[in-house]
């Protein structure tokens, strides 16, 4: 049994002052005022949060320091429709970014394939610690990557293949979903369906969420349009212009995995990028997670981005929730991203407020399954 004594504990929704957490490797046993209970080990910290959850990254798929074929398994740019691909088959647990992310307070991350294909493949929700994907795995598959932005157009337009336009990208997604849907409910057919269709059926059955990578407002609107047509459970990732589509997001209860906040606006789709956007989303009650989008921004410093949003007037609790309880809720985990009795003991300890450059991560605990 271990105990953490802290001046401040963020439990996923509020900040407790001068409190303790008692936990073992499997679960949190207690959070509250120090009840004097003796434990084998005691740790002290200024600020404690649930281990951070990065809701969209390419960590392990696009490896640090290995740009070419050897370390790049992010985009299978040979077919614009690859729902059958699994992120776990591409993740290298020895990517040097994992220990860094862990020391940045991130204990789990949703790894999704890259943006080149309108239908990119299935994600994996993994811990940032472990020598094999099996050790790291929390859930696979977890989510399906869809991509509505300029990346598929650039990739396939150059090959003179569809999609060369936004219409083409939407067509590929829509056609694949219709075809998979055609097999749904038909007993023999469903069994005999291709791997591709089976993968999409999980999305159509709402077992898996659809993660639409979209930056521009019109692309976000297309994602919402398709989601309504097929009754998908959708999350918008990146969401640069999500504030413009706020009404639609709200009406359809669609969350946004926004970020990275610190990113050069290297194309026209990123024109609108600013910390004000996620602040506006949060102020208006859109369920908003903040992501690193690693390798576009280092996962290790996910926490630093929160400062920019707090500077826009967002409460620290709301900002911290965007990398803890909110992503856990979006993924449907009731015992992650929070510190309460029975929750997984993924815990990060800091010597100050987590969003500051000054603050160091003191220690990180990762649950043993």
């Amino acid at each position: 049994m271990r105990k953490i004594k802290a001046k401040k504990i963020f439990d996923g929704s509020k900040i407790l002052e001068n409190a303790v957490i008692i936990f073992d490797e499997k679960e949190i046993k207690y959070i509250g005022k120090d009840n004097g209970k003796e434990t084998e080990e005691t740790f002290e910290a200024e600020f404690v949060t649930p281990g951070f959850i990065d809701l969209s990254s390419g960590i392990g798929l696009k490896e640090e320091s290995l740009p070419e074929v050897e370390g790049d398994d992010f985009n299978e740019e040979t077919n614009p429709k690859t729902p059958e691909l699994l992120a776990i088959d591409g993740i290298n647990p020895l990517d040097e970014a994992f220990p860094k992310a862990l020391m940045g307070g991130i204990t789990s991350t949703l790894v999704l394939p890259g943006l080149s294909n309108p239908i990119g493949g299935q994600g994996a929700f993994i811990k940032t610690q472990g020598k094999t994907v099996e050790e790291m795995l929390i859930k696979s598959a977890c989510g399906m990557r869809f991509s509505l932005n300029e990346a598929p157009k650039i990739t396939y337009g150059q090959q003179k293949k569809m999609p060369m336009t936004r219409m083409g990208s939407a067509y590929i997604i829509r056609k694949a979903l219709y075809e998979a849907k055609g097999d749904a409910g038909k007993k023999g057919k469903e069994k005999a369906a291709s791997l591709e269709k089976k993968s999409l059926l999980k999305v159509l059955n709402r077992e898996e969420k659809a993660f639409f990578a979209a930056f521009r407002a019109d692309d976000i609107a297309t994602a919402i349009r398709i989601s309504k047509e097929f009754n998908l459970k959708t999350v918008i990732t990146f969401g640069t212009e999500a504030d413009i589509t706020m009404k639609m997001l709200k009406e359809n209860k669609i969350p946004v995995a926004f970020g990275p906040v610190i990113l050069p606006r290297f194309n026209n789709e990123l024109k609108h990028l600013s910390p004000e956007v996620p602040a506006t989303l949060m102020e208006n009650g859109i369920e908003t997670a903040i992501i690193s989008g690693h390798p576009y921004y280092p996962a290790e410093f996910l926490r630093i981005q929160l400062g920019l949003i707090i500077a826009e007037g967002i409460k620290p609790e709301t900002a911290l929730a965007s990398i803890t309880s909110v992503p856990a809720k979006i993924l449907g985990f009731k015992n992650r991203g929070i510190i309460k009795k029975g929750a997984k003991p993924d815990i990060a300890l800091f010597d100050g407020v987590p969003w500051e450059t000054k603050t160091k991560v003191v220690k990180v605990f990762v649950s043993k399954q």
């Binding site: 050069p264 630093i304 920019l308 969003w355």
Partner: protein, 382 residues
């Protein structure tokens, strides 16, 4: 005249003045810096509770050469058709309406060093520009300010894909040495009676041989840095500055002894290639402690320019360089490296009135730059 009153002044070169005043005259120069009230008939800015810094300087960027919010057709940083192109001039490509200039001002960055990328072994002439003007002519502070060169992976990748020399580090060194040998001869002839036939590329290197400007050498690996020192400094006796210098801390004693400055960074990014594998926020601290003159860079657009102060914060606190030394790395140190420290890089009487006023320490993620004054005029207000 502008009078900034009641603020905490980070002079950089003369400590911190609490409740201080800065007076900037009509010529845009700092007339007085004082811990006492200054009486003057001037436009007053009450900086009570605010922090006052000299305008920041980003010592290595590509501002205007790879404009934001657009496509590759606007990218003008690398003329990758010949590995040695000393006569390329950054000023011919800078797009003053690149939105990144406004981003820079919003973070108190009033001067940047900008120039060609690292595709070529000898890339061309870089320049120091103001971020708050509309035309390149008005923007220029120093031109040329250095000749960009590049060692290691980048030129190798570019030319090996074209099946041309250089495709090895030996090839890179050959192109570099050959260009310098030719330029040395040219510069020598220019001084003599029999003038050489005019050569635009060689002309670009004459100021380097006259020690007016340095070679700004992109290099990450320690062996590449030392190749740069060996050829440029030892064989040809030229002034050099090491750009990026990922592994520079490993040979910091050599660099300190040979008085080679290093511009470190970008650090707030994911290491994109083998050469940058050991990129660390600790590098600037190690260099400084060893006596190497060190500045920071965003390498914009690799890192967004406006986050230079946050990168500096991580260097100061996570990397261990400390607030005071790190502040120098985005003010007086780059000014010294670019030989413009007589006019820029600190809040001192006589220097150009470039000032940024903050509601918190710029190294903090929650601080915001509220007002920027350049040459005595307000150029940004939040």
């Amino acid at each position: 005249m502008i009078l900034i009153e009641n603020g905490t002044i980070y002079t950089v070169t003369n400590g911190i003045i609490k409740n201080g005043s800065v007076l900037i005259d009509n010529n845009g120069r700092i007339k007085k810096v004082s811990s006492k009230k200054i009486k003057a008939n001037a436009e007053k800015i009450n900086a009570k509770g605010k922090l006052i810094f000299p305008g920041f300087i980003d010592a290595h960027t590509h501002l205007g050469l790879f404009p934001l919010e657009t496509s590759m057709s606007s990218a003008d940083g690398n003329e990758m058709t010949n590995p040695s192109t000393p006569a390329m001039r950054a000023i011919d490509a800078i797009y003053p309406q690149d939105p990144a200039f406004k981003d820079a001002i919003s973070a108190g960055i009033v001067l940047v060093f900008t120039g060609p990328g690292s595709g070529n072994v000898v890339g061309g002439q870089s320049v120091v520009v103001k971020t708050y003007k509309n035309t390149t002519e008005e923007m220029i502070v120093k031109n040329p300010a250095g000749v960009k060169c590049a060692f290691g992976e980048n030129p190798k990748r570019v030319y090996s894909s074209q099946k041309r020399l250089p495709s090895t580090r030996m090839g890179v060194a050959k192109v570099f040495r050959e260009t310098l040998a030719k330029a040395k001869e040219y510069a020598k002839k220019k001084k003599g009676k029999k003038k050489p036939q005019f050569d635009l590329d060689m002309e670009a290197l004459v100021p380097v041989f006259e020690h007016k400007i340095p070679l700004r050498i992109h290099s990450h690996r320690a062996d590449d840095i030392l190749t740069a020192v060996r050829i440029a400094k030892e064989e040809f006796g030229l002034d050099i500055v090491i750009e990026h210098g990922t592994d520079s801390a490993r040979i910091r004693e050599v660099l300190a002894k040979k008085k080679v400055p290093v511009i470190s960074g970008p650090l707030l990014d994911v290491s994109p290639k083998i050469e940058t594998k050991d990129s660390s926020f600790e590098t600037p601290a190690l260099l400084t402690k060893a006596g190497v003159l060190t500045a920071l860079m965003t390498d914009h657009p690799v890192m967004p320019i406006q986050y230079l102060p946050i990168e500096a914060g991580l260097v100061a606190y996570q990397g261990g360089a400390g607030e005071e030394e790190t502040l120098k790395m985005i003010t007086i140190n780059p000014a010294k490296i670019m030989n413009i420290d007589k006019d820029y890089g600190s809040i001192e009487e006589g220097k150009v009135g470039n000032i940024s006023i903050w509601n918190g320490h710029p190294f903090s993620t929650t601080a915001k730059c509220e007002t920027v004054i350049a040459e005595g005029k307000i150029v940004f207000k939040r």
